[in-house]
């Protein structure tokens, strides 16, 4: 039952994406309202689906990598709706929702049967590891969306050819702040999440760096984000350079998740 509800939520996100992109092009106020409504409805279904999943499996909806990604998406949409309202960045959906849809696709492919929970997934620490990583991923999705918006707006202002994005996107400073804050928020979660994962791997698998694609790529992503944060905090990086790093970091994160979702390894698939 939870699978069909979750699939329905994904369909809702696809509709909301279409509407959000239409709003970016058309900027009809009622299209934005429809997009918000579709997003909220899909999110509500998503909530129900996750609750049903938790009840059916008897554990939080983060027992497998796809489940965690789904939960991360749930957090992302919640924060997106909040930012849109709070800061009146009405075009945010057009940048966040496509990522949401892409990340949700695997949940559909997988939903045929209940994934078997790994036998090692017993300790309480592992749940903390997954929760922290999930929140971190959610923050980095928004970090990426902010960086893309920054680069688009910056390009318009620099080339002085003002088009649709100039009129629709918020100020550079606002976008730079959004990417900085999401980075500053996501990084500690990711860091502690990774450390716990590594420690736990040490006890469960007998080695801190037992080969696992997800673990490997997530370390790459973490290094990139660490460099960005260090650059921002210590060397005053910002703007375009920080935005490029955010994009590269997210690419690494997507590869990481892809590895977790599609490659065989100890995180399972």
């Amino acid at each position: 039952m939870y699978a069909s509800v979750l699939n329905l939520a994904v369909v809702g996100y696809v509709c909301a994406t279409g509407l959000a992109l239409a709003y970016l092009i058309q900027r009809e106020e009622f299209v934005h309202r429809l997009a918000s409504l579709a997003t909220a409805a899909a999110w509500a279904l998503h909530t129900l689906g996750l609750i049903a999943l938790a009840i059916q499996t008897g554990r939080p909806p983060i027992g497998t990598v796809p489940d965690s990604v789904s939960t991360a998406v749930w957090v992302v949409v919640l924060v997106q709706l909040w930012i849109e309202r709070r800061y009146q960045v009405k075009v945010l959906g057009a940048f966040v929702l496509p990522i949401v849809v892409v990340l949700s696709l695997k949940t559909i492919i997988r939903s045929a049967g209940l994934a078997q929970i790994g036998p090692t997934l017993g300790s309480a620490w592992i749940w903390v590891h997954i929760t922290l990583a999930t929140v971190g991923i959610a923050a980095f999705v928004l970090n990426f969306a902010g960086a893309v918006m920054y680069l688009l707006q910056e390009h318009q202002l620099r080339t002085k050819r003002l088009g649709a994005f100039y009129y629709r996107l918020p100020a550079l400073e606002t976008l730079d702040r959004l990417t900085y804050r999401t980075l500053a928020l996501g990084f500690p979660f990711l860091t502690v999440g990774l450390i716990l994962g590594a420690l736990w791997a040490g006890t469960a698998w007998g080695s801190l760096f037992a080969f696992d694609p997800l673990a490997l790529f997530s370390f790459v992503a973490w290094t990139i984000y660490a460099a960005t944060l260090a650059g921002r905090a210590a060397a005053g990086w910002h703007g375009r350079r920080a935005a490029y790093f955010a994009v590269v970091g997210f690419a690494a994160l997507v590869v990481t998740l892809g590895a977790g979702l599609f490659l065989p390894g100890r995180h399972g698939s």
């Binding site: 996107l169 100020a171 703007g239």
Partner: protein, 423 residues
């Protein structure tokens, strides 16, 4: 009875003629009364601005009303009506509704989206109201026109993007900085254009303001006007490092701000962008400076391009506004049709209600022993009969008026039920 608008505007008449015809308030009152006293119109509103002179009226014979109004206007102004007559346009009914909606929403303006016209239409309407030349039709029409204008303004961006160079610069600043409050501004060269741009920034909360000029006295003068601080010209490089927005407009033949100067200024700034508004010709900021990170440099040509882009954006928004007006006109026509038949419906109801109440009273006078229940039953019975009888004629009246035949049906109802003539 037909609703119509007749007049001329910036597209049909040359500016000299519009200037001559534009009427001030006193004369406008006179004109409104004259036209109404002539007995050719039921209701009338006259709008007179430097871009349009139009009369909005409800009349039996619009052509007659139009020529009476404009003949009087021409006579007052010493013009030959024959020169004005060919320049006039007339719109009837639905087209008149569309016209007043478009005018109020600033879609018919010379500069699409300019905000003054709505106020001017409101003033014209208020004046006509004070002269008591506004009846139910024009009242409904103008109230709705104001509502439509407001919708257009909030739901489209027809009036949002700057169409002057100095405002365009402020808008650019708002796309670079999250807000302008607390942003420091440096004005280099004390020209009129730079003062205007600086004023706009101050209005948005920019603070503090520094002014520098080759002659310090001029700088001090402008600094006083802007509530800012004058800075000696040779401290320009230091001042650059501490501000966010620089407006330059010196008459210098060579750039006064070199790339190197900007580069040094950006070193100490860390996260803050630096925005140059260079309105000087020849330019004051070395052209290569805007390739530096976090430096945005717009010269006068760039700003003009921004204004052009804004005008194109307004034109695009105007298309959306036209569609909105179109929908509102359709809605309004239905309401207008109702307005035409409502007085008849009201007097028909009053008539029948009078008969009913009288007859019930007579009947009750004959049966003084009637219990409260009987009285109530009698009231209910008679009311039900009246409502049943009224249902068909009222429905028919509404339908016919929406189909455009309201007038003959209202006359018929008046005849049949012996109602007083409505006017």
């Amino acid at each position: 009875m037909a609703l119509f608008v007749a007049g001329l505007n910036h597209r049909t008449a040359p500016v000299e003629l519009r200037e001559t015809l534009a009427v001030e308030e006193d004369k406008l009152r006179e004109l409104l009364r004259d036209v109404q006293d002539a007995g050719v119109v039921d209701e009338v509103v006259v709008i007179s601005t430097c871009n349009r002179v139009e009369i909005y009226a409800v009349a039996d014979v619009p052509g007659e009303a139009r020529s009476v109004a404009f003949r009087r206007l021409c006579r007052n102004r010493g013009l030959d009506p024959a020169t004005v007559e060919p320049l006039l346009y007339t719109h009837l009914d639905a087209e008149a509704v569309q016209h007043v909606f478009r005018v109020s929403a600033s879609l018919d303006s010379m500069l699409i989206g300019e905000p003054q016209i709505l106020g001017q239409v409101k003033d014209a309407f208020a004046l006509a109201q004070s002269c008591q030349t506004v009846g139910p039709t024009l009242h409904t029409l103008f109230t709705q026109a104001f509502a439509v204008a407001k919708r257009v303004r909030t739901e489209t961006e027809i009036g949002r993007h700057a169409v002057s160079v100095s405002f365009a610069a402020v808008e650019l600043a708002r796309k670079i900085f999250a807000g302008l409050s607390g942003k420091a501004v440096l004005v280099v060269g004390a020209g009129e254009m730079s003062e205007l741009a600086a004023r706009h920034l101050v209005e948005q909360g920019a603070f503090p303001i520094y002014v520098t000029n080759r002659t310090l006295a001029r700088a001090q003068e402008l600094a006083r006007a802007l509530a800012g601080t004058a800075v000696p010209f040779d401290e320009l490089p230091t001042a650059l490092a501490s501000v966010d927005i620089v407006i330059t407009s010196t008459g210098a033949p060579e750039p006064v701000i070199s790339r190197e100067m900007v580069e040094r200024a950006t070193h100490g700034r860390r996260n803050r962008p630096l925005f140059f508004i260079d309105i000087a010709v020849p330019r004051d900021v070395e052209a290569s400076a805007d390739t530096l990170d976090d430096v945005y440099c717009y010269d006068i040509d760039d700003l003009k391009q921004v204004v052009d882009a804004n005008l194109r954006e307004r034109a695009r928004e105007a298309q959306r506004a036209e569609a909105l007006v179109e929908r509102e006109v359709a809605k309004f026509r239905a309401r207008l049709a109702d307005v035409e038949v409502i007085p008849t419906i009201v007097s028909l109801r009053e008539r029948l209600e009078g008969i009913r109440a009288g007859e019930v009273q007579k009947a009750l006078a004959r049966i003084p022993e009637a219990s409260p229940e009987t009285r109530a039953a009698l009231e209910a019975l008679s009311t039900a009969i009246v409502n049943k009888i009224l249902h068909a004629p009222i429905t028919k009246l509404r339908q016919s008026s929406r189909a455009g035949a309201g007038r003959s049906w209202t006359e018929l109802v008046h005849e049949l039920f012996g109602l007083r003539p409505s006017r």
